[in-house]
Point group: C2
Chain length 226, copies 2
C-alpha cells in the first residue's frame, strides 16, 4: 500500500510511518500475520476518538457562541458518530488503504461503515501521537470543520432555518415579531411570535431576541409535525 501517496494527498508528514500504517491495520489482518509482531488500529482509535472529541468541542465552542451547552452537546454527538465518521472516511478515500484479513475481505469488510469510521479515528490518533494536538487540529481543519460550516450538522439545531425551508417549499412566508418585552431593563426577556402567512404558529421566550425567535420556530415546527 502506498502510504507515501496517501500522505501527499492529505498533506501529512509522519515522523514514524509505522504509526500511519497501524492506523489502517484491521485486527483481521494482524491475526493473519501474527509472526510479524503487528498491532491493530483499535488502541489508536480509542485515542483518536478523544482527540476528535476535543477538536470538535473547541471548534463548536468558539464558533457557536450563542449555543447552550445542551445544543453544543447534541451537535457534537451528531458530528462524532459513526455515520458521519464513515462519511469523512469515504470522502478521504480511507477504504482502499485499510489492511484486511482475507476472510474479512471476502465477506465485504472493506465497505463496513464501522470499519471505515474506526480507521478514520485511528488516523487522527496516529497523527496526534506522531505530531501532537496542533497537527491533529490542522487535519481536522481540512477534513472535518469545513463540513460543519455549511450547516450539514448545525441544520438540526437551527429551527428558524428548518422552519423557513419547510414553509418555503409550500410557497409560504415566515415572519417573526417581538410581542412583548418582559421584566426591567437589566433583567429583560423577549417574547417572540412566529407567523406563517401572517397567522401565528408559535411563541417563544428568551434572553435575546434571537433565542426567543428560535424557541418560537421550534414550537411552530412541532405544531406542523402534528
Amino acid at each position: 500500500m502506498d502510504f507515501k501517496q496517501f500522505q501527499k494527498d492529505h498533506e501529512l508528514h509522519f515522523n514514524d510511518e509505522k504509526l500511519l500504517k497501524q492506523a489502517f491495520m484491521h485486527t483481521s489482518y494482524v491475526n493473519e500475520h501474527r509472526g510479524e509482531n503487528l498491532e491493530d488500529n483499535e488502541r489508536l482509535e480509542f485515542l483518536g476518538d478523544a482527540v476528535l472529541e476535543l477538536g470538535v468541542s473547541q471548534y463548536l465552542f468558539r464558533n457557536y457562541q450563542e449555543m447552550s451547552e445542551g445544543e453544543l452537546t447534541k451537535l457534537r454527538a451528531n458530528i462524532v458518530c459513526e455515520p458521519s465518521l464513515e462519511n469523512f472516511a469515504r470522502k478521504n478515500n480511507l477504504g482502499k488503504y485499510v489492511l484486511l484479513g482475507k476472510g474479512e475481505e471476502a465477506s465485504g469488510g472493506r465497505k463496513r461503515p464501522a470499519l471505515l469510521a474506526d480507521a478514520f479515528e485511528a488516523l487522527i490518533g496516529a497523527i496526534y501521537l506522531d505530531q501532537g494536538f496542533d497537527q491533529a487540529l490542522q487535519f481536522l481543519d481540512r477534513v472535518v470543520f469545513p463540513e460543519i460550516e455549511p450547516g450539514a450538522f448545525s441544520h438540526a439545531m437551527d429551527y428558524k432555518t428548518q422552519l423557513q425551508e419547510i414553509v418555503q417549499q409550500q410557497g409560504g412566508k415566515v415572519t417573526y415579531r417581538i410581542l412583548e418585552e418582559i421584566g426591567p431593563a437589566h433583567n429583560r426577556d423577549f417574547l417572540a411570535g412566529v407567523f406563517i402567512n401572517e397567522e401565528k404558529h408559535g411563541e417563544g421566550q428568551g434572553r435575546t431576541k434571537k433565542e426567543a425567535e428560535q424557541r418560537a420556530a421550534n414550537q411552530a415546527m412541532n405544531q406542523l409535525k402534528n
Copy 2:
C-alpha cells in the same frame, strides 16, 4: 469568594480570572444577577469534559499498554463519570467556591453531586481556554492521574487482583499454570488454568501468558459469583 487563595492552593495562575470565576458560576446565580452580564459555567463544562476525556485517554494509552481498546474504554468511562468527578471535586474543595442562586442554595444545591461534577469539568475547561492543553494536563496530573495509579479504577479491570483478594479473604490460595501452548512458534496462543486450593476454577486463552491468566481469572470470578 477568594479565588486568589484557590489559585494558590491548586498551583493555578489564570491570565483571565473571569474565566476561573465563570467555572464556578451556577446558572441559578446568573439568573439572579442578570443585569451583570454574567455567563454560567455550562459551556465551559462542555469544553472541559472533552479536555478531561483526552487527558485521561492519553494517560491510559501510555500507561496501560497491555489493555485492549475495550478495556481502555471501560476504564475511561469509570474515570470520566459523575461519581468520580464529584469525588475529585470534593477532594479539591470545589464546593465552597460554587456561586449559587439563593433558591438553589436553600434547597441544598451546593451538595448535589451533579453540581460538583459540573464545576470540576468547567474548571478544567477554564484552565484549557486560559492556558492551553499542556497546563490543563498538568492540573490533571496533580488531581486526577494520581488517583488512577493505586488501582482505584483499574481494579475493576484486573481480574487476577480481584480474584486474589476474594480468595484470600476466605483463607484460600490462587495459583496459575500454563496448560498448553497452542499453534506454531510465530503464532502461539497460551492456555492458562487458574487453581483455587489446587482445584481448577477457570481456563483462559490469550496471546500472552498474562492475557491468558487474566481471562482464566475472569472465568473463575464469574463462577464464584454464581
